[in-house]
């Protein structure tokens, strides 16, 4: 600890000297660590370990002054290894790597010890034991640090093209922004038309704009942009490669008609004799087996639903341009892109299987999405809200909030948008038919953003009633088919028995079935709510842990439209950093084969999922292709001779930690 700076300066520190000179920087993280762990005692103990030349305790090691302290001590004590004991390397390792690199140290000479998330935060009431644990953890880190070896992060070229998966409003925004910056974008959408969920909404809160009137022009803009290639009715099937160079296989599902010949005139639809429930209208009304998805669809082309087609060939006869092809097979495109933006969307909670609040048991209970389609002028009833049992226009309408949200039996999270769309829906019907009577049954009304509270007030001024309570019993009057609701008005402290002509359930946001596939293809993490996880919830909200892969929209948590659009733009901006620089820095951690020890058994080759190990047939030795190796280290464990090592996680480095869990023990290099 008493060593001071020597004459060694400048570039010479870049060379790894035999003498390991470790500096240990213990962070208090305000009181996050310092309030539990006795950081001074920890630093004093760690200072006694051989090779530790200096220890330092900082209030915030990540702050400017904390980093300056590290840099100054590197200089003063001629340190060649740095141990930072603070929060999680998952958030702060890059910060300190950059900090020591500025001083001419190899960035892999940093060892990061987590004494906050893994210690002070989880042992809040056991200060002494937490302090002892922190000593153990840092001792493990110090001994590992002494064995760390310099590595070279590699630079990879970035193909200046992007893939956007999902053409809802978030994906479209990302595609448009990137295209406007001059990059080529492939926009893959699994449905026959782009537009996503927003295309189905009637009006959007809080301004009550007509949804398709603001979305439609954007869809056309996407179609007209020469830098965007729309791949509708297509799905991503395979993703290989890494940041800068992803090879993606896209399947184009057969529409059973030539999209180049089809004009979207819908004569085929008129001729088709098959009628099936119209999914775009949430199952209300019917469509034909060959149909144009909706009037504003982009591309405005028909699609044949082979499952319901009876092969009568009426459509082929009706089509003046001979576009129909019943034998069409799926086709595939292989595309190379530098970045991928996932905007894969969501679905709404389905109350049918569990018959939440009687849904599916009684005719006159519908979901908010169904209500939305009934409100819509282009919907199944031309904008007349009617109840399913008798097609009469309801007078008394009840709304139940938090269906499939804020409920430990379904999803505990708040879907964030249901309060607002319920407020909007009640408002819209009240405006259309002032004689209607609306009651919203809620747990809490949440109106956090601009214009939302005003919209809530407007609903109340229009006479929409808000009742705090969750229905405990929902029944049907068998004669009138009216819905009888028993609910506790928790503000008045009374049980109320209410009768409605129509009951609307505000169903929440849930991940759709396709999310697992995209999660596995892109190797993303899923959060407890089943939606995809961002790299950091606060500071990297659209990044993922996979370099070059970004997330926009509801796929990473419930969001309203402005939030999803902002995320689309944010993704485009983040992706542009890579696309414009045309290069990315990748981790230097890979497997390394020692030809002197390798016997050419080939076990490692079968272990590697990335085909990164090739057998040099002539020499009979395994060879690691660094550009392909992702550095998982699975092959290393399988190697029977010890010829393979994983840099930065070499056996002696891991063993140094294991041996120091219990007491100080030096491990040979």
């Amino acid at each position: 600890m008493s060593e001071t700076g020597t004459e060694t300066k400048g570039t010479e520190v870049k060379k790894d000297s035999d003498e390991k000179r470790v500096g240990v920087f213990v962070c208090e993280c305000g009181v996050n660590i310092g309030g539990v762990v006795n950081t001074r005692a920890v630093a004093d103990y760690i200072g006694t370990l051989p090779g530790v030349k200096v220890t330092s305790v900082n209030k915030f090691t990540c702050s400017d002054s904390g980093q300056a302290d590290i840099q100054q001590k590197i200089k003063e004590h001629n340190l060649n290894r740095v141990v930072v004991a603070a929060c999680s390397p998952k958030t702060h390792e890059p910060t300190f790597r950059a900090c020591i690199e500025q001083m001419g140290l190899n960035q892999y000479f940093l060892e990061f010890v987590n004494i906050r998330d893994h210690c002070s935060w989880i042992h809040m009431w056991e200060k002494e034991k937490a302090t002892e644990k922190a000593k153990d953890l840092i001792r493990m880190g110090v001994e590992r640090a002494k064995l760390l070896e310099p590595l070279q992060a590699s630079e990879v070229p970035v193909i200046d093209k992007a893939l956007v998966v999902g053409a809802g409003v978030a994906g479209m925004q990302a595609a448009l922004d990137l295209a406007d910056m001059g990059f080529q974008v492939y926009l893959v959408e699994k449905e026959p038309s782009i537009g996503g969920r927003m295309a189905r909404f009637d009006k959007v809160f809080p301004t009550n704009d007509c949804s398709i009137c603001i979305l439609g022009p954007k869809m056309v803009e996407v179609a007209r942009n020469k830098n965007i290639k729309i791949m509708s009715y297509s799905e991503v099937k395979e993703v290989e490669g890494y940041v800068g160079n992803f090879n993606v296989k896209v399947e184009h599902k057969p529409r059973y008609l030539d999209i180049a010949k089809c004009t979207g005139c819908a004569k085929c639809s008129e001729a088709c004799p098959v009628e099936v429930p119209y999914d775009f209208n949430e199952g209300f009304g019917t469509r034909k087996a060959i149909f144009v998805p909706f009037p504003q669809a982009v591309p405005l082309r028909a699609v044949l639903d082979k499952e319901n087609c009876i092969s009568c060939k009426a459509c082929a006869k009706a089509c003046e341009r001979g576009a129909i092809d019943y034998d069409m097979k799926p086709t595939y495109s292989d595309i190379n892109v530098g970045v991928i933006i996932g905007a894969v969307g969501f679905k709404t909670y389905d109350p049918e299987p569990k018959h939440d609040f009687g849904y599916g048991l009684y005719d006159n209970i519908i979901t908010a999405m169904e209500f939305e389609r009934l409100l819509n002028a282009a919907g199944p009833t031309g904008g007349h809200v009617v109840r399913p049992s008798d097609c009469k226009e309801p007078i008394r309408v009840g709304f139940v909030n938090c269906v499939g949200s804020r409920d430990k039996n379904t999803n505990i999270y708040c879907s964030g948008v249901c309060c607002m769309y319920t407020i909007k829906n009640a408002q819209l019907l009240k405006e259309k038919r002032p004689e209607t009577d609306h009651t919203v049954m809620y747990i809490d009304i949440r109106t956090p953003f601009r214009g939302y509270e005003e919209s809530y007030n407007r609903s109340r001024n229009l006479g929409v009633k808000f009742l705090r309570g969750r229905p405990v019993e929902v029944k049907e009057d068998p004669n009138t088919k009216n819905i009888l609701v028993r609910v506790e008005d928790t503000l008045a402290g009374e049980i109320r028995n209410l009768e409605f002509d129509l009951l609307v359930l505000a169903t929440g946001i849930v991940p759709h079935e396709g999310i697992n596939q995209i999660q596995q293809l892109l190797k993303l993490s899923k959060a407890a709510d089943g939606l995809l996880m961002e790299a950091h919830p606060k500071l990297r909200p659209v990044d993922t842990t996979i370099d070059g892969v970004f997330l926009a929209g509801v796929a990473s948590g419930p969001k309203d439209i402005p939030y999803a659009v902002s995320q689309g733009s944010a993704c485009a901006s983040r992706a542009t950093i890579l696309l414009k620089n045309k290069k990315a820095i990748t981790e230097g951690i890979t497997a390394v084969a020692n030809p002197d020890v390798c016997v050419g058994c080939g076990v490692c080759i079968s272990m590697c999922p990335f085909q990164a190990i090739k057998m040099d047939e002539q020499a009979g030795k395994a060879n690691v292709v660094k550009a392909l190796c992702k550095g998982c280290g699975t092959c290393v464990t399988a190697c029977p001779t010890g010829a393979l090592e994983q840099s930065h996680f070499k056996n002696n480095q891991v063993l140094a930690q294991i041996k120091n869990v219990f007491k100080f023990q030096e491990v040979a290099v």
Binding site: S88, K90, H118, I122, S525, A527, Q646, F649, I658, V661
Partner: protein
């Protein structure tokens, strides 16, 4: 430390557990446990590797030889591996490890496998709590060398 908030003081012996975590899932799960302030006994010492596939039998046995009362092998849920299928290989290796641990005469509770995602902080904390309770009943590992606690 306020007396009422503090858990009951245990005078007795506390086990020491070595937990191997993969960078992407279970290490993140341990971080999430911290972020959620899910309290757990201060018995585990986490060693981070990039993938559970890197957890070598050599590491596990060394941990026992050094004095670990239990060793935890953790990784991503099957199908969620950041490296496609490293955890599938961990599962196979684990079968082998289980057999050796039995041959060594160690109780099966001393070696445990668990898949924990980066969001499952509570699960991580519960796991540490459960293992600690199990090991406390068993007492120190018979392989523990003299001089370490």
């Amino acid at each position: 430390m306020s007396a009422e908030a503090a858990p009951a003081k245990t005078d007795g012996w506390e086990p020491k557990i070595v937990a191997f975590c993969c960078n992407w899932c279970s290490y993140g799960g341990a971080d999430s446990a911290g972020m959620g302030r899910f309290q757990q006994p201060p018995t585990a010492r986490i060693i981070r590797v990039m993938c559970s596939g890197r957890i070598d039998p050599l590491h596990v046995f060394n941990a026992f030889l050094e004095g670990a009362d239990a060793v935890l092998v953790t990784g991503c849920h099957i199908g969620d591996c950041h490296y496609v299928n490293g955890n599938d290989k961990t599962k196979i290796k684990y079968k082998f490890l289980e057999n050796v641990v039995r041959e060594l005469g160690l109780e099966k509770e001393r070696l445990q496998l668990n898949w924990i995602s980066a969001s499952e902080g509570e699960k991580f904390a519960n796991f540490i709590r459960d293992v600690t309770a199990q090991i406390k009943k068993l007492g120190p590992s018979p392989l523990k060398p003299g001089g370490v606690s």
